[in-house]
Subunit: 329 residues, 2 copies
């Protein structure tokens, strides 16, 4: 008799690409693929492309595996309702993705935003293995976060908890896309780093290759490369970004007293350039009883599969919860 | 046959007084009493006074009740270790209070700080009945907090979570007892209100009865009474305190997205004087997706028994958790 191994499907719906893959309980990605999201397309058309692509992959796996659930990471996803609610970068109406997916594949599905999925991914397969209290920070175009308390992700009463990027760190500071001023993500994110470079170009008289690059051309990767070459403006931009992140984390840890803060996403690839000043600033600015406790760690999810692993971990952790739950008599 | 009703003992160890009482599962306080804490006394001597006082009360109850557990609220209490760790206002060494109490009374005991106990008290018997996600703020000499996520109190990895009073709201602002500057409790607490009155007396040329009172004589109660008489400085002090609290809460709710914020303690007795400006400021300053969601509520624990009810609720909730837990095979 052939015993088929249980696997789940992880789907990460991004503004540009959608990645999906089959993942076992140890975090091995058996098979994965991606397709363009096509932001201008309706949800209906998008899923009409996605579902056959998944089924094709299933067929290629010759029935060696048993699909037991589907985890989905998506922008503006609501865990409680199973919906994606008017995502700002997609031309979708509010869509009940969990319903659509469960109907098509006939297994349990669950959805949350990408930062929450990444947090569960780190807990199950990455830097937060064995931890019950930590905060994951995604440093991309903006700053996303997933907060884990007592081994469970914090969703809040409405499913929207964990918006640490919109904690105001400088009252009256930089304009934020949310309509307010001084939000953490206007300073600490790929975009925040760029804005800091431009502030420094205004304030300093140091010569820098950054003076040859327009705002729209400049990327965090370029700033990183120049910092590694010793460019003073680039180095100071990273130092200021880490210093402010450390101050923000000194405020963040008073809420849930996490064991670690895990940095994930593009800017985290800068490694020590961002980690060192963040650590120093957190130690300097933390309340005494928290000093030296919360570690700053880098994501340990393989970068290629991170988003798919996160979504897969989400459904594995949900299946585990359900199997442990006490059923009412 | 006489069926004895289950009750718990709630103990609240404060800097000045220690209150204790027997409470049933509906939150009725069957009998309660208090004794002076005597801050200069050792823990050993303190418990040598407390235990016989409790036992005397037990005897008076003629065995009509069955003691099933003991909940304790105390400064610098660590839930995980059962200890009170070098409390700043008591002459105690680090003391394992849970061990002492369990040995003497032979029932399960549990300890946490007063704000956490108050949060559980509100959830079981007060303004947070039926809520799973809320934040309790105690406004006394300082600002304490208890955070509830998914129906559970947030203790953090080390037992010290929920220090919202030490979130920095004005970088470089007022000196705080913690050694840093600009912590929320330096503005929002009975002491913070006093400091704001003194700042206003420096800045304004309005005549006020507050100009006749020394800093050491001034109490939050006096400021409240003068505000009710229409004193402009007193009114402005409350307005500024609420405005800053609303801003701080706009930052706090991004972490756990609570259904409500419950105000507890001395300053909460000022009612609308503090609630109205807090509500207005929270609505004005909140991130769009949170606007109008988190309610500002006043504590509903009867003031006299609040601390004892909180400690009693703590142990009731723990006993409930244990009876629901799945035992490993």
């Amino acid at each position: 008799m052939n015993i088929r191994k249980d696997i789940v499907l992880g789907i990460d719906i991004g503004g540009t690409n959608t990645a999906f893959g089959f993942v076992d309980e140890e975090g091995n990605c058996i098979r994965e693929s991606a397709l363009p999201t096509n932001a201008s397309e309706s949800a209906d058309l998008f899923f009409k492309r996605l579902f056959p692509a998944i089924e094709k992959m299933q067929t290629e796996m010759n029935g060696d595996y048993n699909l037991v659930g589907i985890g989905i990471g998506a922008p503006n996803a609501n865990y409680y309702h199973g919906t994606v609610e008017l995502p700002p970068n997609l031309n979708w109406d509010t869509t009940n993705v969990v319903e659509l997916v469960e109907k098509r594949f006939n297994v349990p599905a669950v959805i949350t935003n990408d930062a929450n999925a990444a947090a569960i991914g780190e807990m199950k397969f990455g830097a937060a293995k064995g931890m019950k209290d930590f905060i994951l920070i995604t440093l991309g175009t903006g700053l996303g976060s997933g907060i884990v308390v007592g081994g469970n992700l914090v969703y809040g009463h409405d499913g929207f908890a964990g918006e640490v990027g919109h904690a105001i760190v400088k009252p009256g500071g930089r304009d934020c896309g949310c309509g307010r001023k001084g939000c953490l993500e206007t300073y600490v994110s790929a975009t925040g780093l760029k804005r800091t470079v431009y502030k420094l170009l205004a304030n300093r008289i140091t010569t820098s290759k950054l003076q040859d690059i327009s705002y729209n051309q400049l990327t965090a990767k370029t700033i990183y490369n120049l910092a590694m070459e010793g460019d003073k403006i680039a180095l100071e931009a990273f130092a200021q970004t880490g210093e402010l992140l450390g101050k923000a984390l000194a405020n963040a840890i008073v809420y849930t007293s996490p064991e670690a803060i895990i940095l994930f996403g593009g800017l985290a690839l800068a490694g020590d350039l961002i980690v060192k000043p963040t650590e120093e600033s957190l130690t300097k600015n933390a309340l005494n009883i928290f000093k030296g406790k919360a570690k700053i760690l880098l994501s340990q999810l393989s970068d290629k599969n991170a988003a798919v692993l996160g979504s897969a971990a989400l459904i594995w952790s949900e299946l585990e919860k359900n199997s442990k739950a006490v059923h009412p008599c």
